[in-house]
């Protein structure tokens, strides 16, 4: 036998006493998956199920229970009942599994099976003894009564033909047992303490030597086992298998050997469960059965399947259930490997608990077998319910088996017999054990009355619901398939010892408790308190300080250099102003120069001149005076010659402006031009030939309106309030209804925006009417492109343009008189800048020399 335990997850061997896989950290012990892995031997810790019972109460892992707690619990009168109660609460699925496929261990050793069966009885009696001893005085009579009713219940499902035989079979050994139990009820407590002490010692002994139980036959089967000596006398005397196993067959009592020839061998080829290979060895096991069982088997077989072959082994139902429970008990816990009286007491209690509900749970619609009907609702779901009940079960009611159906008495007793498998499970076929074999002995069907009634009342609605769905498929589910359910469903797990966490991802998805590290990692602790103060090194602090200094200096405004001598600055400004004024006075006072220097002749002056000269005499001309009063000096001189020329040609002039001061400036401009050219004698009058359309509020917006609807834009003019006339009725605007009716539009402006507004908003509405522009020298560079593009027909820019136009007209005017002074002023400015540059260069030279000399 291997002395190592293979991990169910990684398959690697681990020490037998290891609870966690050394390689993958998978939990070895809590997962009953040991039973899943064929390599894994029988449970090493034979008292695990007891620990888990205690753990279910105390919410502690079984292996962590201190030694002091168990005796204390044993001293408690209700200790066993509490265990039963807790186990029934935890595992309500176990009985179902135990009943559906309880036999997974093949048994090929008949002698051991017989010996085990008797050991089970011994253990059960001893357990009963201890349990009765622990029970209170009030519970004892109930238990006795319950034990007495066991035999009566077993008799009920049997047919009338076999009733008498069964009675003799059952009462004979059982009453012996119960009598012995009653007799030894009041034995000294020292005897019970003996097996209790073994319970305490067992965990320590069994853990390091888990293979002992599997290498050697169970203590029940070993005649040399010392523990057998602790058995009660009545059991020792009745146990014929205390000797050599080989000789067990020969030493069988008569009541056992009588059973042999009546047992029927298992039918070859019958669809038995994969976990029940022992069925093929049934003929060999017949001889192991006691007489009372062998007598009972053909009777029950005859009751269940009268047409079955004579060789088939049939066991009574109550024994089938008992064997199934016994098998599960053995696989689940090592209680059968020891001869503890506690185990015996539990086994007996399991007997009675299982049989007792047969009285109370009605069997309507189910089989007549009280043990089948007494189990939980899930058990009755499976293939044994309603109309889908197997025929052999029905036949128990009807007395006739179904055709083509494997009689339950044929299959179940064979596999469920504790005499055939218990002894085999541990030493040889542990690898073939299934999860069902680990059903807890304290399953729901083993519960006492008070627990069974409670559970039945809870299960009934669920049972009813499942009965409805059971009509679909579960009835067809074979037992071996039902036995393949997950082991977690039947495995006794202590909530305190198993990790309930189910892996959700990775290769372990769906498995529960395979990574116990999660529990260890999930440790709640007080959140760490972090200091608010920033931890910095000295270097970091130095760098932060430098950055802070840089930011501070960045926010500070740079201090301007203060002038060393404020008085010299003002003196210098006064000097410059005086020089300019003196020069302008000198040049302006000198009057017209006969041969003035000719300014740069702009290419746009000639077109302007041509457009003015092409105007029809007396035709209306729109004159826009859009300049600020500050530029009046330059623009009056620049436009004077052109306006005089218009007056000379008797042009009707309508004045309009988008500047508030425009109408007044326009009036001043006309009067200056009119009076400077002595137009009075020419018949040209300002009142008849000129009209002011006033001011257009809205700037460029009003220009658009003027272009579209001039009469609406300039509805009133300046003269309405003066003489009450509408400007458009004035003789100067006779025949003018739109801008296209004007012969020309002349714009005088000092602003680029204003000139651009006229060009962009009004010029497109003029049609063939030319637009001429007189601008200041400052705005000229920005407006000359419109002349080049053809949007403007001509342009005079500044004083130079006026002089050029006067030169073309050969009529010296205001332009030329200003031009000399303008040239003088420009010359002074150029001279001052040169002086300043020279002075500055001189200072720089001196400073550099001084610096060199000092160096």
């Amino acid at each position: 036998m291997p002395e190592t335990k293979r991990c169910p997850m990684c398959g690697k061997p681990n020490p037998a006493d290891a609870e966690v896989c050394q390689y993958c950290q998978a939990q070895l012990k809590p997962i009953v998956g040991d039973a899943k892995t064929p390599e894994t031997p029988a449970p090493k810790d034979e008292m695990d199920w007891l620990r888990e019972l205690a753990g279910s109460e105390e919410s502690q892992p079984a292996n962590e229970i201190p030694e002091e707690t168990e005796p204390a619990a044993l001293e408690d009168d209700s200790f066993l009942l509490n265990r039963l109660r807790s186990s029934s609460n935890i595992e309500d699925e176990a009985p179902k599994e135990a009943d559906t496929a309880p036999f997974s261990v093949p048994d090929d050793s008949e002698e051991e099976g017989n010996a085990d069966w008797l050991h089970i009885l011994e253990e059960s009696s001893a357990r009963k003894e201890s349990a009765d001893h622990d029970l209170s005085a009030e519970e004892k009579p109930d238990l006795d009564k319950w034990l007495e009713t066991l035999d009566k219940d077993n008799e009920q499902p049997l047919s009338s033909d076999t009733q008498e035989t069964d009675e003799t079979i059952k009462k004979k050994p059982r009453r012996k047992i119960t009598d012995r139990l009653k007799k030894e009820e009041h034995e000294p407590e020292t005897e019970m303490n003996g097996w209790l002490n073994t319970l305490r010692e067992e965990p320590d002994q069994a853990a390091p030597e888990p293979m002992e139980a599997t290498d050697s036959p169970a203590p029940f089967t070993s005649p040399a086992n010392d523990e057998n000596e602790a058995l009660p006398d009545w059991l020792n005397s009745e146990t014929p298998f205390s000797g050599d196993l080989k000789a067990a067959d020969t030493t069988l009592p008569d009541w056992l050997t009588e059973e042999k020839p009546e047992e029927a061998p298992a039918a070859p080829g019958e669809p038995v469960q994969a976990s029940q290979p022992a069925q093929t060895d049934q003929p060999a096991q017949k001889s192991d059965l006691p007489d009372w069982l062998q007598d009972m088997a053909p009777d029950s077989a005859a009751a269940a399947a009268p047409e079955a072959s004579a060789g088939q082994e049939v066991m009574p139902s109550w024994l089938q259930d008992e064997t199934s429970d016994a098998a599960s008990m053995e696989m689940d816990s090592p209680m059968f490997g020891d001869s503890d009286s506690d185990d015996q007491a539990d086994l007996l209690s399991g007997f009675h608990q299982k049989e007792k509900p047969a009285e109370e749970v009605p069997t309507e619609g189910l089989s007549a077998d009280p043990f089948t009907s007494a189990v939980s609702a899930e058990v009755s779901d499976a293939p044994f319910k309603g109309e889908d009940l197997p025929d052999w079960i029905k036949s128990q009611e009807d007395g006739t088996p179904a055709e083509g159906e494997i009689p339950a008495a044929e299959a179940e007793p064979l596999s469920a017999s504790p005499f055939m498998e218990n002894e085999q499970s541990e030493p040889e076929t542990a690898g073939e054990t299934t999860s069902e074999s680990y059903a807890h002995p304290f399953a729901a069907d083993n519960l006492p009355d008070w627990l069974e009634t409670e559970e039945a009342s809870e299960i009934l609605p669920e049972q009813a619901a499942k009965e409805e769905t059971a009509d679909l498929a579960p009835a067809q589910l074979p037992g071996w398939l039902a036995a393949m359910r997950p082991v977690e469903a039947v495995a006794p797990e202590s909530p305190g010892s198993l990790d309930e966490r189910i892996e959700k991802s990775g290769p372990l998805a769906g498995l529960r408790g395979v990574l116990p590290a999660d529990k260890q990692t999930i440790k709640y602790r007080k959140p760490p308190v972090y200091s608010v103060k920033l931890k910095m090194t000295e270097t970091q602090e130095a760098h932060a300080g430098m950055l802070e200094e840089l930011l501070k200096n960045e926010n500070k405004p740079s201090s301007a250099k203060r002038e060393s001598a404020q008085g010299s600055k003002r003196l210098m400004q006064l000097v410059v102003a005086l020089v300019l004024i003196v020069v302008l006075i000198i040049f302006r006072g000198a009057g017209l120069v006969d041969t003035p220097s000719r300014p740069y002749l702009s290419p746009f002056v000639t077109p302007f001149y041509d457009q003015i000269e092409s105007l029809t005499a007396g035709s209306p001309v729109l004159l826009a005076v859009d300049y600020e009063p500050g530029y009046a000096g330059e623009l009056k001189a620049a436009s004077n010659a052109a306006i005089q020329r218009l007056m000379q040609k008797q042009q009707r002039i309508a004045v309009i402006s988008t500047v508030p001061a425009g109408p007044a400036l326009a009036e001043d401009l006309l009067q200056q031009a009119y009076y400077s050219q002595q137009m009075i004698d020419s018949g040209y009058t300002l009142n008849t030939h000129t009209i002011s359309l006033g001011y257009l509020p809205g700037g460029i917006t009003s220009l658009k309106e003027l272009a579209l609807r001039p009469k609406q834009a300039a509805r009133y003019g300046l003269t309405v309030t003066h003489d009450g006339l509408i400007p458009w009725d004035h003789p100067a605007l006779e025949g003018v209804n739109s801008l296209t009716d004007f012969a020309a539009v002349i714009v005088i402006t000092d602003s680029v925006d204003t000139g651009r507004g006229w060009v962009e908003q009004v010029q497109p509405a003029l049609g063939s009417t030319p637009m001429l522009l007189i601008s200041s020298a400052q705005a000229a560079p920005m407006l000359e492109p419109y002349v080049q593009s053809g949007q403007l027909s001509g342009m005079l820019s500044g004083l130079a343009g006026s002089v050029s136009y006067e030169n073309i007209l050969q009529q010296p005017g205001t332009g030329q008189s200003y031009w000399i002074a303008f040239q003088g002023g420009i010359a002074v400015v150029i001279a001052l800048i040169l002086v300043g540059i020279l002075l500055e260069l001189f200072v720089i030279l001196i400073t550099s020399r001084r610096t060199q000399s000092e160096a």
């Binding site: 290419p603 000096g633 109408p663 809205g698 560079p781 080049q788 420009i826």
Partner: protein
């Protein structure tokens, strides 16, 4: 969205005016466009009145504040009252009232430009004292060149030299090249601004 009503009005008016400029639809060109323009002009006129009211309120506030320099506000308020009353009384078409503008406003504004000319001259004189880098020298040289060209000193200094007219034209065309670039930028900027207002991206009217 801020001022959704104002935004909707602005966008719709812009779209109508734009369509009227490109589509020969009589309804747009003869009715809607002039009507909307007239409304805009009226609003501009009202805005002028609001500006005047604001000017008076600011200077009245300064006049009430115990602070030096309030005398200028007092003169402004008095001049406004006199001009306003004279305008109402004589009407803007009166020659006497027009002389108020031509004999007061023109000299004042012209004097400001004269002071500007003197300041520019003085600054040019001290130009190299503040900055002595290359850009300062470039500015000085360009100022010299254009002062000479604008003053007509090229012909005076050099006489009728062959090719001199071409050189003079080249010098005077240099500012025009820069102005074209500026105008192109202004045109593109105006177009972009108009489109942003039409699309509601810019809402200068939302306050």
């Amino acid at each position: 969205m801020k001022a959704p009503v104002a935004t909707a009005i602005a966008i719709s008016v812009a779209v109508i005016l734009l369509m009227g400029s490109f589509l020969p639809i009589p309804l747009l060109q003869d009715v809607l466009q002039p009507y909307l323009l007239a409304c805009a002009v009226i609003v501009a006129g009202v805005a002028t009145l609001i500006g005047i009211y604001n000017l008076l309120s600011v200077h009245l506030g300064k006049l009430n504040a115990p602070k030096a320099g309030n005398l200028y506000s007092l003169f402004l308020l008095l001049a406004f009252l006199v001009t306003f009353i004279a305008g109402l009384w004589f009407t803007p078409a009166d020659a006497g009232f027009q002389r108020v503008v031509t004999h007061i406003q023109v000299p004042v504004e012209t004097s400001l430009l004269a002071v500007l000319a003197i300041s520019l001259t003085y600054t040019s004189l001290r130009l190299l004292k503040k900055r002595q880098d290359m850009m300062a020298w470039v500015f000085v040289v360009s100022t010299f060149v254009f002062l000479i060209a604008t003053g007509g000193y090229i012909g005076l200094l050099l006489g009728d030299v062959p090719g001199l007219r071409g050189f003079s034209n080249f010098i005077n065309s240099l500012p025009m090249a820069g102005a074209r670039g500026i105008l192109l930028g202004v045109g593109l900027g105006s177009l972009t601004t108009g489109l942003r207002i039409v699309f509601g991206a810019d809402r200068p009217y939302s306050g």
